[in-house]
């Protein structure tokens, strides 16, 4: 089903068919879902599925090959003392670290863990299309199987929707069947929930495999109402087109409680069929250690100190 031909007028008229979002109501729904109490056996299940959904991320100017190798080793076996812990969903790094990450994952038995590269002049997206093209091609050539691109928020906010659309379409063309495309909306800069809903549909119609909340460089990032609205968007898009698009909240999800709240949002919004790493990822770094500590607590009956989990 073709929702829009990519022209400015066709995109605008398509986005106008979308139902508006009431901010007060969306906030209230997200707050209500945050009161779900997840205990005992459901908590055990939730922790493991959350680990398997993590895009273990390091996106610092000061990243070193050593640090990237360390998180790759950890990605394969998050808790060295417990082989029953599942591996994470992916590794997420800058372009120049993609090859290092791929090699390390392959060397430590993580063949099936993909490397995601942040691309298209991450995090601002302020570069020419040529630069964005080279950026993406470079990442794929280095072994990235997932591309986390940013949208041009300036174009979106000024109403130049065709530019946003064509850029996503173009990058999708480069990814082809070599890489999955995640489109970062940077919801903290879009500000309104109506914008989040529109940008979600715009990205999906242009070919996104995943829609992602944030770069992690802007606050607020993955707030519960924003994730709720994106989950409603993928659910509605599936009803329209029969195509399932993934969702990736990133930024600000630091502990087990936050992660479980995200899973509840998925379960009661998009539905249980989205509760797997193919359709839901959590972009995070510190979260993994808290999930591991909670897992140990349930297993051993007491909390372990921070030195019982690895640094990177």
């Amino acid at each position: 089903m073709i929702l829009t031909d990519g022209s400015e007028s066709s995109i605008k008229s398509f986005l106008r068919t979308l139902s508006p979002v009431d901010q007060v109501g969306a906030d209230a729904r997200a707050a209500m879902l945050a009161t779900r109490s997840i205990k005992t056996s459901s908590k055990v299940w939730a922790i493991d599925i959350a680990i398997s959904m993590i895009d273990l991320t390091t996106l610092e100017g000061a990243d070193t090959p050593g640090k990237v190798r360390a998180i790759c080793t950890k990605a394969v076996r998050p808790d060295p003392s417990d082989p029953t812990v599942p591996h994470v969903g992916a590794i997420c790094v800058y372009n120049d670290m993609v090859k290092i990450a791929r090699d390390q994952l392959d060397a430590s038995g993580g063949h099936d863990i993909p490397v995601a590269a942040v691309s298209t002049a991450f995090p601002s997206g302020r570069a020419s299309l040529d630069v964005k093209q080279r950026d993406t091609e470079d990442a794929i050539a280095s072994g990235a199987q997932e591309i986390d691109m940013v949208i041009d928020r300036g174009a979106f906010l000024s109403g130049n929707l065709a530019k946003v659309f064509s850029e996503i379409e173009f990058i999708k063309g480069i990814c082809g069947d070599k890489a999955h495309l995640k489109v970062i909306l940077e919801t903290g800069e879009l500000v309104t929930y109506d914008n989040v809903r529109k940008a979600s549909f715009l990205a999906m119609a242009a070919g996104a495999d995943f829609i992602k909340t944030s770069t992690g460089k802007v606050t607020p990032a993955a707030t519960a109402p924003v994730v709720l609205i994106m989950l409603e968007a993928v659910r509605d898009y599936y009803a329209m087109t029969g195509k399932k698009i993934g969702v990736k909240p990133a930024g600000g999800i630091r502990n087990t409680k936050d992660a479980i709240k995200q899973l509840v949002l998925v379960n009661e919004t998009a539905g249980p069929e989205w509760l797997n790493p193919q359709l839901f990822r959590i972009g995070a770094s510190a979260l993994l250690n808290d999930l591991l500590l909670q897992r140990m607590k349930i297993r051993d009956g007491h909390y372990a100190g921070p030195n019982y989990v690895t640094l990177d």
């Binding site: 139902s19 009431d22 109501g25 009161t35 205990k39």
Partner: protein, 479 residues
């Protein structure tokens, strides 16, 4: 594997149930004079909770005499700022003991702990705080320079929000300087009796608040008592009419908060996901045991199909079960009698040709339960479109034009609440102007605040509760 939520039950250890409760008269718990009592049960599992004294004429007389005495000797002579202090103290104790009240309310009423914890109890405390502030500012409320209380007021409250309705009644009555004889509903007396303990804990002078438990007969003894100057009643329209008849020709003042058949009107440009939440909240909040429930869904014809699809999907997610489980959305029906009434009206809907839908859901074997339900193909002439069901049953009616929506919404003997769902501000104002309902929500539903007056048109009642208007109901000669 799917994400099953393991049971997360709230502990009942915080509640210390006594085997037997007396009447709270003149600051003390006393047995009924003739020793009669009745049992109250947990409607979610039919387990016996406690025996409660049954107040007959001698007991009601004693309670009214205590209230009269307290009014004349203490409460009417006390500086208003002192009255306010007691109300503040009660409000704080309610907050301190919130968990105890929330658990007990869920046990006695059957409503989910999520609602007692997040709505009933916090709002009850808020009503006391709000009115505590008014106590010494009444001369600035715009009701004359020296507004006077009625004296002894008789208050009769329903079972749907036991402690909250108690606070809607007692807080303004005490703030304005009246003393109180209150009768909680027969099926839900326990939080009112726990509130009596709070009055003791707060050091409230004896006789200012008296709580007598019993049934309709006890209520009519209060209504007809010669020393009661004002009646405040919340409950069914039939009983309300009886009270109006009983006090006609007497000097008794009255506020009646009665039934409703609220229209929840959804226009084509509504924010659809939030509207679905609002519909759910409108009719399934508190099992639909809400006088202002949005029990008629008026939906614009061109979005009905899409809206109902979304509503079905959402209703399938409603978690029905143990009221004390923190993840329960829909609890138990309050009594066997109420369940029978819901079934009778639903049967009439089936018989009159409306189409019924409920999601698949397992209901507990013991206790009183009804699944979330809606009817489509409902006409204005069906009983389910006209009579208050007071249960989790929604009647869906379509309309084409805003004018038709108004006509259908107003075509009811009731006039308590309405909801409007649209993205257009101008349409909200136009619709609200033409609706005959005491409370109108725009893009939300079932939101309450002590500062906001609540009450109905037509058969939904007389007078307002809450806000400045609510104070007027407890002051002499102010309307």
């Amino acid at each position: 594997m799917t994400f099953e939520y393991a049971p997360a039950p709230e502990s009942t250890a915080v509640v210390k149930l006594k085997p037997e409760y007396g009447l709270f008269i003149n600051g003390k718990f006393v047995p009924a004079k003739d020793g009669k009592s009745f049992a109250t049960i947990n409607p979610s599992n039919e387990q016996h909770l406690a025996k409660v004294a049954y107040a007959s004429e001698a007991d009601v007389n004693k309670a009214v005499a205590a209230a009269n005495e307290a009014y004349k000797k203490i409460w009417s002579k006390m500086p208003a700022s002192e009255r306010g202090k007691y109300l503040f103290r009660i409000a704080r104790i309610l907050q301190e003991r919130a968990r105890e009240f929330a658990v007990l309310e869920s046990m006695d009423n059957g409503k989910p702990i999520r609602e007692t914890r997040d709505v009933d109890i916090p709002l009850a405390a808020a009503h006391f705080f709000y009115h505590a502030g008014w106590a010494d500012k009444l001369e600035h409320a715009g009701m004359g320079s020296n507004p006077k209380p009625h004296g002894v007021v008789g208050q009769i409250i329903p079972w749907n929000f036991p402690l909250l309705m108690l606070s809607w009644k007692i807080a303004p009555a005490l703030a304005t300087g009246n003393t109180v004889v209150l009768k909680p509903a027969e099926t839900t007396p326990l939080t009112a009796l726990l509130f009596a303990e709070v009055c003791q804990q707060a050091g409230l002078p004896a006789g200012v608040v008296n709580i007598v438990t019993g049934d309709g007969k006890t209520g009519s003894l209060i209504v007809n008592h010669k020393d009661i100057q004002k009646i405040a009643f919340t409950g069914s329209t039939a009983v309300g009419k009886g009270i109006a008849r009983a006090i006609a020709g007497t000097k008794k003042a009255a506020t009646l908060e009665l039934g409703g058949k609220g229209a929840n009107i959804v226009f084509e440009d509504a924010p659809i996901d939030e509207t679905v939440e609002g519909i759910i909240n409108g009719i399934f909040f508190n099992q639909g045991h809400v006088c202002c429930a949005g029990s008629r869904l008026l939906v614009q014809e061109n979005i009905q199909e899409e809206l109902l699809e979304k509503l079905k999907r959402r209703m399938a997610l409603i978690r029905v079960g143990d009221p004390l489980d923190k993840n329960t959305d829909l609890g138990a029906i309050n009594s066997a009698a109420q369940l029978a009434k819901i079934r009778e009206l639903v049967d009439s809907g089936d018989a009159e040709g409306a189409e019924r839908w409920s999601p698949a859901c397992d209901l507990p074997a013991k206790g009183f339960w009804y699944p979330p339900t809606f009817f489509t193909g409902v006409t204005q002439a069906n009983r389910i479109a006209r009579e208050e069901i007071f249960g989790p049953v929604l009647s869906v009616i379509s309309f084409r034009t805003p004018q038709e929506a108004i006509e259908k919404a107003n075509n009811t003997p009731f006039g308590l609440s309405a909801g409007i769902w649209t993205d257009k501000g101008s349409r909200i104002l136009w619709t609200a102007k033409h609706l005959k309902a005491g409370v109108i929500w725009a893009n939300t539903f079932n939101k309450f605040d002590p500062a906001s007056p609540f009450g109905g048109y037509k058969e939904s009642g007389w007078g307002r509760e809450g806000g400045r208007h609510g104070l007027a109901a407890y002051l002499k000669g102010v309307h």
